[in-house]
Symmetry: C2
């Protein structure tokens, strides 16, 4: 928990994450959460009807598939999936992401999936 | 301008910035701007009364001075200055930052300063 205003060293926080597709919160900015997640393989197709979602790749490479195309992102690349746009993140090898999304975001956009995390966990 | 949904390669955008303390917008997330800024020396003491401000150091080192102490941040460190908290960023050598703040933020919190940028410029 770093809601107390402590600096967050992203590389140290990433060491605490051993699983995939399970975002952990590291900071709050107004009504938004900054989250870290490790990913590998394919997530689930979903959209967030009323909110944008920002991805910043910290390590590795990912592809964000959308219905009308895809974007390839490497470490240091940032991309915003606009509200309402169906997307499906994919990573051939493990990658680490920083995500900014509203604090009431459901990371699968309500889509049932074995990859869905029900909790909102701080690290 | 990358509000069209294009990926943003942060290192390429930073090459376009030659001055200090003048944030440029690289993305929008709902009502927030993601901005890049190069800094060197001391900014101006200010606060944002009703909004948090997130700093992520991309290159170099900075100190965020606050009235009750300071935090030292290096590349890969993230820190949120809570709403209402007076702060003054300082960098002995040039550093590059990613900032997330509301799109109506005045970066000096309304404080008059030679360092104040009046515009909201995308790169």
């Amino acid at each position: 928990m770093t809601g107390d205003g402590a600096p967050v060293t992203l590389s140290e926080k990433l060491k605490l994450i051993a699983d995939h597709w399970h975002p952990r919160i590291v900071a709050r900015v107004d009504g938004y959460h900054v989250k870290l997640v490790k990913v590998k393989g394919e997530f689930v197709w979903h959209a967030h009807a009323d909110q944008d979602e920002m991805f910043l790749v910290l390590e590795g490479n990912i592809v964000i598939r959308m219905r009308d195309g895809e974007v390839s992102l490497s470490a240091g690349d940032l991309f915003v999936v606009p509200k309402g746009v169906e997307h499906c993140p994919f990573a051939e090898d493990e990658a680490s992401l920083l995500i900014l999304a509203r604090d009431d975001t459901d990371h699968t956009g309500g889509v049932a999936s074995a990859l869905r995390a029900e909790d909102q966990e701080w690290i």
